[in-house]
């Protein structure tokens, strides 16, 4: 039980909104000490794991080109493109992105999206422009909410799309772990049984985006402009 102290440190640290880096370091220290390691051994174990996890940070290699594109006006261009297509509301645009992201992830093309590559330079500016084209300057709170929904859409579509592809990491992990325990399953079966949840995610998140769009229009449609609509 005492080994779970590290988890308590994490929960408390995040709840108090402390800077996560010291919180994580403290959690690692507490967990290591509880497991009977000394301080030097904990620092070494953490350093080893940090070094072996460097692949996680390789994604930052995309920032220079994203920065160049922003300098040249990509976000403005993406916004202008959407402003001209009046049918593309914020909700519809994010819904469309959801379908594309989920479908491509289901075909194993998980790299065709992502927050630094797609959401920041393209999806978020487009979602904002779609709202600005209809409602003018957005209040800060809605500006923030739309950006958060752009990121959320990418995550949900990816998570409930990728497992439909048979050679994705999580399917191979499930197969490998069950096999170690003497249960043989076909990857094809695993990906097949990911389909009901994929469809449910599409429906649930699609409806939520439609509701989000409705709340957005209700909040931002100025009553004088359309007197018939005012409540």
């Amino acid at each position: 039980m005492i080994k779970l102290l590290g988890i308590a440190v994490i929960v408390a640290g995040f709840a108090l909104r402390l800077n996560p880096l010291p919180v994580i370091a403290a959690a690692a220290l507490v967990t290591g000490l509880a497991a009977g390691l000394d301080v030097v051994a904990v620092i070494s174990a953490f350093g080893k794991a940090f070094n072996e996890s460097r692949y996680v940070s390789v994604v930052w290699l995309v920032l220079p080109v994203i920065g160049v594109l922003e300098r040249a006006g990509l976000r403005e261009r993406a916004g202008a493109l959407v402003s001209r297509l009046k049918v593309l509301t914020t909700g519809r645009l994010l819904g469309l992105y959801f379908v594309l992201r989920q479908a491509s992830a289901a075909m194993g093309l998980t790299s065709l999206g992502g927050h630094p590559q797609m959401v920041r330079p393209l999806v978020a500016p487009m979602a904002l422009a779609a709202a600005e084209a209809r409602f003018g300057q957005l209040p800060a709170a809605w500006h923030e909410r739309i950006r958060a929904h752009a990121a959320a859409t990418d995550n949900v579509a990816l998570f409930f799309g990728e497992d439909v592809f048979i050679a994705i990491g999580s399917i191979l992990l499930i197969k490998g772990f069950l096999e170690q325990n003497g249960v043989i399953v076909e990857p094809l079966h695993l990906s097949l049984w990911a389909i009901p949840s994929a469809i449910a995610a599409l429906l649930i998140h699609g409806i939520r985006l439609a509701l989000f769009e409705r709340r957005l229009s209700r909040a931002l449609r100025s009553p004088p402009a359309e007197p018939g609509e005012s409540a």
Partner: protein, 317 residues
């Protein structure tokens, strides 16, 4: 053969360039801290394998202290005014999308190509690292396409990259830190304790309870670990296999598939999954770092409910 080492060297050089540029940036207070932070990360990428475990550990301690005490400097303002970007955007038109779409497309095509080549016996790229190498190659190719096509100066990639990495700040190393914490949890056997607790907590003779504890346990333990991959073996060995499959005769493939997806619901709800939740909040410059989690919460809870019901209905078909 091109593999991890070359990609890490490239990333190391990039971070080293950010550190150097920071030294010449006299306009901003605390800019030296950012320089030191990126210099340490550059050291990790360029020389991490030669530092030893304790050396790497001390490097992490230094990163934590730099970010934790007083924080890093805020990002510089974007170069060029809004109106200049607006004009550039109109002048360049559709050409702007070429490098933007080349980046993901080249990543995908490169991954496929490198794997095919290796399978055909031309192992130019380590097939195990195909995606990583393809991402790095795509980033370089997109820059080489963008600079002449958009008539941007050669200094722009590093200046703009530094502006963006400074706006992400310490969150840039958060996913790597959490991955390392997960490894320490594994060494300490945290998963085993949680699995035992979950197994003790549940009544052994109820199918409904077994399914609910399994799916909700997957989500909850994923929230703690930040990663469904870490939760899956623990919950499946503790509850899934002994109860749902062995005692009640459920289908292991259905349990595994929907169990993992229940874990993904947890990923959507936890700051521990930093690369999906906190890093995007930093990248999109959101004032509330939990804003992405809040936007995902209803979907995550509804999907967890769906998965629980679906597992119960389907597993004993």
């Amino acid at each position: 053969m091109i593999g991890k080492a070359e990609v890490y060297a490239l990333a190391g050089l990039m971070f080293a360039a950010y550190a150097l540029l920071g030294l010449f940036d006299r306009g901003r207070p605390r800019s030296w801290k950012n320089s030191l932070f990126w210099a340490l990360l550059a050291t990790s990428f360029l020389a991490g394998d030669r530092l030893g475990d304790l050396g790497n550990g001390l490097l992490v301690v230094a990163l934590v202290l730099l970010a934790g005490i007083g924080g890093l400097a805020p990002a510089a303002q974007p170069i060029g005014s809004d109106s200049r970007r607006q004009a550039s955007s109109q002048r360049l038109g559709w050409r702007l999308f070429v490098p933007a779409l080349a980046l993901p497309l080249v990543t995908v095509l490169g991954t496929m190509l490198f794997k095919r080549l290796a399978a055909a016996g031309y192992a130019i790229v380590d097939p195990a690292q195909a995606t990583l190498v393809a991402l790095a190659a795509a980033s370089l190719i997109a820059i080489l396409v963008a600079l002449p096509l958009l008539r941007q100066p050669w200094s722009a990639p590093l200046h703009e990259g530094r502006r963006l990495i400074d706006s992400v700040g310490w969150a840039a190393v958060l996913p790597q830190m959490l991955a390392a914490l997960g490894a320490v949890f594994a060494v300490a056997g945290v998963g085993q304790v949680v699995g035992d607790l979950a197994a003790q907590a549940m009544p052994a003779d109820s199918r409904v309870a077994a399914v609910v504890v399994y799916t909700v346990g997957m989500a909850a333990f994923t929230m703690v670990m930040g990663n469904a991959f870490a939760a899956f073996p623990v919950m499946t060995a503790g509850i899934g296999l002994p109860l749902i499959v062995q005692r009640f005769g459920g289908d292991a493939a259905i349990m595994g598939a929907i169990g993992m997806l229940s874990g993904f619901c947890g990923t959507l709800m936890t700051p521990m999954a930093a690369n999906f939740n906190l890093v995007p909040a930093a990248l999109l410059e959101l004032s509330d770092r939990n804003a992405v989690i809040k936007a995902q919460l209803p979907t995550a809870l509804l999907m967890l409910a769906f998965n629980t019901v679906a597992l119960y209905v389907l597993v004993w078909r």
